[in-house]
């Protein structure tokens, strides 16, 4: 079952009144959506507000979603409209809107170089700590675990593609990726506990 089908299952549960299923989608797409909206809105707090508003609007409109497109495509359309409405209300113009930014760009939006620095000094420090922990732990992992999770998370390969690349069974790939995530997650817990008192 692919990623889109998983999203569809969560959406269908939410459509049947399961709010927790929708919350899993919020966790999954919140940062990706926020990065997209940061193309329009400079202020970090406003990006968070519009991101929240987008998810609430999406939830209210959930009955109109029939799965004709992927959930994230539908969500991004709502997000872009929310950002534009926000800017109109604030009587501002986003500098990037003159570049012809559209839905298709949003779906393919992966360029970190286009991101603005949204973080406040505190959150920026926390971001650095999280990133440092993740990358340091990644480099300390055994090579096969590091390769597996890198191919998955950064290159976006499927388990089968990774299995072909690493010349091992798919089940082994699945196990390696899980072990890598667990190792990084363990290291992150301490950092996140400290951060909870500040901004989390």
């Amino acid at each position: 079952m692919g990623d889109r089908e998983i999203d569809q299952q969560l959406v269908e549960r939410a459509q049947r009144g399961d709010k927790q299923a929708f919350e899993l989608l919020v966790i999954k797409y919140q940062r990706k959506l926020a990065r997209l909206l940061s193309q329009f809105i400079r202020d970090a707090a406003e990006v968070e507000d519009v991101t929240q508003e987008t998810f609430i609007k999406a939830y209210r409109s959930l009955s109109s979603f029939r799965g004709d497109s992927a959930f994230y495509t539908w969500l991004y359309r709502i997000g872009i409209n929310a950002a534009k409405n926000f800017l109109v209300a604030q009587k501002r113009r986003a500098s990037t809107t003159s570049n012809g930014f559209d839905i298709e760009d949003a779906e393919n939006f992966e360029e970190a170089s286009q991101l603005r620095e949204l973080d406040t000094p505190e959150s920026e420090l926390m971001s650095k700590q999280i990133a440092q922990t993740v990358h340091q732990t990644l480099h300390e992992l055994p090579e096969e675990l590091r390769t597996a999770i890198t191919l998955r998370e950064i290159e976006g390969l499927s388990y089968e593609e990774i299995a072909n690349a690493m010349n091992c069974p798919t089940g082994t790939v699945r196990s390696r990726i899980f072990r890598a995530r667990e190792a990084i997650s363990d290291k992150l817990q301490s950092v996140m506990e400290i951060g909870k008192d500040k901004r989390w």
Partner: protein
């Protein structure tokens, strides 16, 4: 279970385990945290910026006061059934149309051949006169089969093949005339291509 969460977020979990895993993630706070942390790891590896962003608690609070969405289910099976029914109906209609058109076209040659066979049977004792069956094949008028068949069972000397013989003087010209005016014959309900269609078995 954490292993399944890892596979679930990659879209690589077996479909039989998906529903149960989602239910467990929703129920258990620890598993929900794993879901969140695994996504944080992925997001951080791809884009280190904004890794501190977590609006899910705020969204959860806002969702709590939102009216619950209850969407009527859109049965996908009905779409398939409707499509299958439409295809079946189209095929039945097409077959019916072809059958009808074929009947229109084949009607005339079929009768003629049958009549010819009957005539040949009827005159089999008159083999000394080969002109009779030939003329019978060329005649354009419908002949009553039952009459001919009944006649065939009677004495061959008395078989009334005289009627086709009367067409002897100008059969080809008559055929041309009939062919030219067949379109206006009341025999076919629809004027058009059908009268002009000829099959392989048709001698003309």
């Amino acid at each position: 279970m954490k292993n399944k969460i890892s596979a679930l977020m990659d879209g690589e979990l077996d479909s039989t385990d998906v529903a149960d895993t989602i239910t467990q993630v929703k129920k258990t706070e620890e598993l929900r945290n794993e879901w969140s942390t695994y996504h944080l790891i992925g997001d951080t590896l791809r884009h280190p910026a904004m890794s501190t962003l977590d609006i899910s608690p705020d969204v959860r609070k806002k969702l709590a006061i939102e009216p619950t969405v209850l969407t009527p289910e859109f049965p996908k099976e009905k779409k398939g059934k409707a499509f299958a029914f439409a295809v079946a109906a189209s095929m039945v209609t097409a077959v019916a149309a072809v059958t009808w058109m074929g009947g229109q076209t084949m009607d005339q040659p079929f009768d003629r051949v049958t009549d010819t066979a009957a005539l040949q049977t009827a005159v089999k004792t008159e083999s000394a006169e080969p002109a009779v069956p030939v003329l019978a094949q060329k005649e354009e008028f419908k002949t009553d089969k039952s009459v001919l068949q009944a006649a065939a069972q009677e004495d061959s000397d008395v078989i009334p093949i005289s009627a086709p013989i009367q067409l002897n003087p100008a059969p080809i010209q008559l055929n041309d005339y009939m062919f030219a005016h067949e379109e206006f014959s009341p025999r076919t309900a629809i004027r058009g291509v059908s009268p002009y269609m000829r099959t392989v078995a048709d001698p003309y």
